[in-house]
Every structure is written in C-alpha cells, then in structure tokens.
C-alpha cells in the first residue's frame, strides 16, 4: 500500500516524477531534523535579524485610518526587509537548510523577480551557485529585477515555453531539478509544489504572524479583527495567517488577482474561478478548462500571475477558516497610488491587492476594530509598469 503525505484536507500530496521522489524525501528528512536543531535555528535567527532586518515593523497607519473612517489599520511592513519583500524569510531558511544538506547550487523560479532576487542574494551570501528561471514575458515586465539577479551573481534563464510566465518558470525549474539533483536544491518560492515544500515554506514565512501577533498585543492589548494579505501561490498570506488560525475571532482574508475581472478570461483568481486539480506536484485549486488543461492566466502583477494556489489555502477555503476575495487590476493600481500618497509607502503591486480590499472593508467596520494588512513587498520594481498602465512612458 502506498501512502500519500503532506495533505491539507484533500489537498497537497506529492504528484511528481519518480526521479524526484528521493530528493523530496531527503529534503523532508533533513527538514524534520534541522527544524528542531538549536544551532540551525540560532543561525537562521541571526540571519533574519542581522542580515534581513527582522523583526519587521507593525506600523499604525493613522492617515489611512482617518481617511477611510472605519477600522484602525496597521501595516505589517515586509517591504522593509532586505531585498524588499517577504521572500527573504523563506529563502534564508531554505538556503541554510540546503547548505546543511551539502548542496552547493540553488535553482529557483520567479514571477515578479522578488523570489529570484532573494534567492540570488542568499546564494551570494552563503557562497552557492544560483540559477533563476523566469518567464520571458516577466523578464520584460521586470527588467530591473533581472539586472539585480545578475548583479548578485546568478544566471537568469528566460523561459519561452507555454505562456512564458510564472507557471512555465515553475515547470522549467522542476525539469532542471530532474536533470541535476545531487548538488542542487530547488528553492521553491511559495507554499506550493509537492510535500514538503508547502510546509517548509509556510514554517519559514510564519515569522510574519508570529511577530505581528506579539506586536499587536503589545500595541493594542488585543488581537486584530481581520488580517489581509495578497495571494498568488500564497506564501506571504499563509505566513500572515498562520499564528491566527486557532484564533476564531480573527478574519483571515486572502486577496486574489482578478486581473480584468473574475467574469473575464483575463484573471488569475484561482479560488474564485478555478476547480480542484493536480498540477505542479500538488492537489489544489487551479484555473483550467473542462479537460484539465491549465488555463493561461492574467494579472497586472507578475507575482500573482499563477493559475494555482497553495494546498493549505485550498483547505482553509474548504473549511471556511479563510476567505478569498478577488481584486482587479484597476482596484490594485488605485490602492498602489493611494498608499503612496496617503502614507508615503509605495507598496508592491502584489501587496496593493491587499490594500485595495482593506480600503473597501475598513469603512464598513467600527472604529474600535483593527485590521492588519501585510505589505509583502516594496513597489519600486512596479513604478515603470504602473506608469505605463496610466499611459505614461518612462524609462528605467
């Protein structure tokens, strides 16, 4: 009898080629060992605090609160981390783990380029080789991040297959891993893929809610009423939610990229428009046609432009513990500009999806309620694209 591992309800599992099975088993065994190893944890904490700049601030957004006239708003500032997003939390953990396992080479997929930059950064710091696979379409949308990765010593491979975006970058990184396993660790960037990745990435990102929970208790003496984060694969969202899952009174809200709207084909809102399927190593929700062919998805945000969602989110949706709401390109761009003007904080266009939903939700809540929005990354990388969206052509 075979035994499926890494399930979140009916989701998750390990749907991968036999060639990779011993690699994920080796990874799982190493992780189970090191996650409780005091030396490993000391090293990781040191890197997070003294290299990445943790803990990140929980900032009380007074102007936004006053302007929206409802719930009190706090921003969990993952944009202030070294490399400019939450991605570094996971990458430092995985890179350190890979190094302990004797791996000398990291490979990674990237959409917006934030995970690629974080991986290239960790590889530079820990003296490892690094190859990043990025959809050719995304290398154009995020040219600055391509340059950053190269500057950090990584090779960037533009992926031309399929829709030349994030899903194709994941497929190509998996293909690369199948061809070179011995010295190579696949540093997966989100809470997706085959077990143990959804668990490992979630554990490394859970630092977000571990900190924010303590910070809000310190600031307000109570838990928030809602935690809001954007969801592509779902790593910053699961990190933002994780330590609140047992707190039934805290609403957990994931904001999906609706692109031009969930009633159009130009969307990436997986939970809202997808069906259960099996892809990229996991069972979860996917945008697909009636025959299970994966659908091309669209969002202005290269980081949310993915046709699936992590299996733990799929289960949080099934159980009703978390809500997943669609946010359109237009709403996200408005929020991008709003937060910049109102608080002097330029959020990543991904994070702007969470800000956009908070802008709708906060005014409906009483003034004694509290919302925490995770600002998963900084928006510098998006300025040229947003300018183009507004019809202004600027050169980076």
């Amino acid at each position: 009898m075979s035994q499926s591992k890494g399930r979140f309800g009916i989701h998750g599992g390990q749907y991968i080629p036999e060639t990779l099975m011993n690699a994920v088993i080796e990874l799982e065994n190493a992780y189970e060992h090191y996650k409780n190893d005091p030396d490993f944890n000391r090293e990781l904490t040191d890197l997070l605090n003294n290299y990445a700049g943790r803990p990140s601030l929980l900032y009380r957004a007074d102007k936004m609160t006053a302007d929206l006239g409802g719930a009190k708003i706090y921003l969990k500032r993952e944009d202030l981390n070294h490399t400019g997003s939450h991605k570094i939390n996971n990458v430092l953990g995985q890179a350190l783990l890979a190094k302990k396992m004797g791996k000398t080479r990291l490979i990674a997929e990237t959409g917006a380029g934030q995970h690629g930059v974080a991986t290239a950064t960790a590889a530079a710091l820990l003296g490892m080789e690094c190859v990043v696979f990025m959809g050719e379409e995304d290398t154009k949308r995020q040219a600055l991040n391509v340059y950053r990765m190269k500057l950090l010593g990584a090779d960037v491979v533009p992926v031309k297959s399929g829709t030349a975006t994030l899903k194709d970058a994941v497929s190509e990184t998996m293909r690369e891993w199948t061809s070179r396993i011995d010295d190579t660790h696949y540093c997966l960037g989100s809470v997706m893929g085959p077990h143990p990745f959804p668990t490992i990435v979630r554990d490394f990102q859970a630092v977000i809610s571990r900190e924010s929970r303590a910070q809000i208790l310190e600031a307000e003496g109570r838990l928030p009423d809602a935690v809001i984060a954007c969801v592509g694969g779902g790593s910053n969202a699961i990190g933002s939610f994780y330590h609140y899952i047992p707190d039934e009174g805290v609403r957990l809200i994931g904001c999906e990229a609706a692109g031009r709207g969930i009633d159009t084909f130009e969307t990436a809102a997986t939970v809202n428009t997808g069906r259960i399927g099996i892809f990229h190593g996991m069972k979860s929700y996917f945008c697909q046609d009636e025959y299970g062919q994966i659908a091309p998805v669209y969002s202005i945000s290269a980081g949310l432009d993915y046709p699936g969602v992590g299996p733990e989110h799929a289960n949080l949706h099934d159980t009703g513990r978390a809500e997943y709401v669609p946010v359109t390109d237009d709403e996200a761009v408005n929020a991008f500009e709003y937060l910049s003007r109102t608080e002097g904080i330029i959020p990543a266009i991904e994070s702007a999806h969470a800000v956009a939903y908070a802008m709708k939700l906060a005014p409906t809540m009483d003034k004694d309620k509290i919302i925490i929005i995770t600002i998963s990354g900084r928006g510098d990388k998006d300025c040229a694209a947003i300018a183009r969206y507004r019809g202004e052509n600027i050169y980076e």
Partner: protein, 258 residues
C-alpha cells in the same frame, strides 16, 4: 488484468510513443497503423497536456500543437475507438494526472476498458500517490504503469512488488528527449526488479538509434522511443507515416533478438 504481456511475446519488445493529434488525428491514425504493421509490439498514445513537466522540448512542442489543433480527451477516446477496428496490438495511454483526474478517474478508466486500452503511464503519479487511481483502474482492467528512475535506488523493490503490466525504466535523469549517451547502470536496476517481480520491464528516455535500442533491450525486455518518432512526424508532417514505418521496422529488427 490487462493484455499488455502479449507485447513481450515476440522477442524483445519495441514500444513507440506517439502524441495524439500531432499534427492532426488523421495523421496520428496513419502513423499508429504504420507502426503497428511494422513491428511495434505496444504503442504508447500520448494524450496532450498543456504543461507536460516531464517532457523535453520536442514532446512539449507536440503537446502544444496538438492542443492548439483542438484535441481533447473525448476526441482521443473516439479516435482510439475507431483505431480499434483494425489495430489489434496492445495500447497504453501516456498522460498527466490532471487529465485523468479532471475527466473523472472512473469515467476515464471505463472508457479505457471500452476502447481496449490496457494501461496508462502517468509521469506525475509516483508510488505514493497511485492508490488514488489504481483501485478504480483495477476494476476496469487497466494497469497503472510504474516508473523506475536512475534515482529510485532503495525504492525499486517496493515499486516492483506492486507493478502491473510492465515497468517503465527511465534511463536517464532529466526530461524526455534524445541523448548521445546513457550512463545509468540499467543492468543493475533490472536485477533488482527481477528479484521482486516477474512483470516485464522496458527502458525509455533518450533512445533514438537502433544501436541504443538494442543495447537497452538486451539489458531488459524492451525499448521505448518517443522524441525520435515525434521528430520524424514534425519533419514530414502529414506525410510522416512511411518514414515512421521504416524507422519502426529498423528498431524492431535491432531489438527482437538481442
């Protein structure tokens, strides 16, 4: 119990892989018949998937073009039904887990049974996940073909013990595609398989020449060739059948008595 063992009755087996609907189903029909008439012992029919993560560029391209031409799982079943009027050799499908899952495993296996497809190769369904499909597959007499890779090591015995139909030995690391050299110790893998099962095993991934096919078949019970055939179909398009016939004949001659 399927009819797949029949494929290993005429000396070492040759198993060609053909993507359905590349470049169109009419051509696939001609190519399959050409292969069957010229010595193919079993044919692996690919049901295209949009994101075939175990494939190299050649088969990826065939999948994308077949889908662009409007191929669907239902059309493949109708095609096989028609094929079965005169093609009598054993057939298996090769496709990805989501194609089966999305169609409904039971409905999929029932149609395999109805069209005389005795097995299915699912590259993203490892041992740990096979129970999801194997119970219902067994009910309809469809074998879930187990794959063994160069990295399987301590897993070979476990996989072999539950194998059905035949075992697909993946010759090399990486994805499908032709290779100049196969470095894996296939003999060693086959020895471990033989200690655990009497199910025949065939080697695939990276084979293109009659010499390579003969070498792999001499170490096992047969050779599987995909990308090299897809390249012929890509080159000659709708006129590919006679070229595939010639190629299949040369490979079968090379493997039969080795």
């Amino acid at each position: 119990m399927s009819d797949l063992r029949r494929a290993f009755a005429d000396g070492k087996a040759f198993i060609p892989f053909i993507t359905c609907g590349f470049p169109d189903l009419e051509t696939t029909g001609k190519v399959v018949r050409a292969a069957a008439e010229n010595g193919a012992d079993l044919i692996e029919l690919g049901i295209p998937f949009s994101d075939p993560t175990a494939e190299g560029p050649v088969i990826q391209g065939a999948n994308i073009r077949a889908l662009a031409g409007g191929i669907t799982t239902d059309k493949v079943f109708e095609f096989v039904m028609e094929l079965r009027r005169d093609v009598k050799i054993p057939l298996v499908f090769m496709t990805y887990a989501n194609v089966v899952f999305s169609y409904g495993a039971e409905r999929f296996m029932a149609r395999c049974c109805e069209t005389g497809v005795g097995g299915i190769v699912i590259p993203d369904l490892p041992y740990e996940e096979k129970d999801e499909f194997s119970a219902v597959a067994k009910q309809y007499g469809v074998d879930i073909i187990s794959l063994i890779a160069p990295t399987s090591a301590n897993r070979i015995a476990m996989i072999s013990k539950e194998a059905e139909g035949f075992i697909y030995i993946v010759s090399s690391l990486g994805v499908t595609g032709t290779r100049t050299e196969i470095k894996t110790d296939i003999g060693d893998i086959v020895r471990t398989i033989r200690e655990n099962t009497s199910v025949p095993c065939a080697v695939g991934f990276g084979i293109s020449t009659p010499e390579q096919a003969a070498k792999m078949a001499s170490l096992s019970d047969g050779a599987i060739i995909g990308s090299a055939i897809i390249k012929i179909i890509d080159k000659y398009g709708r006129d590919a059948a006679p070229y595939v016939a010639e190629y299949v004949k040369s490979i079968k001659e090379a493997v039969r008595n080795c």
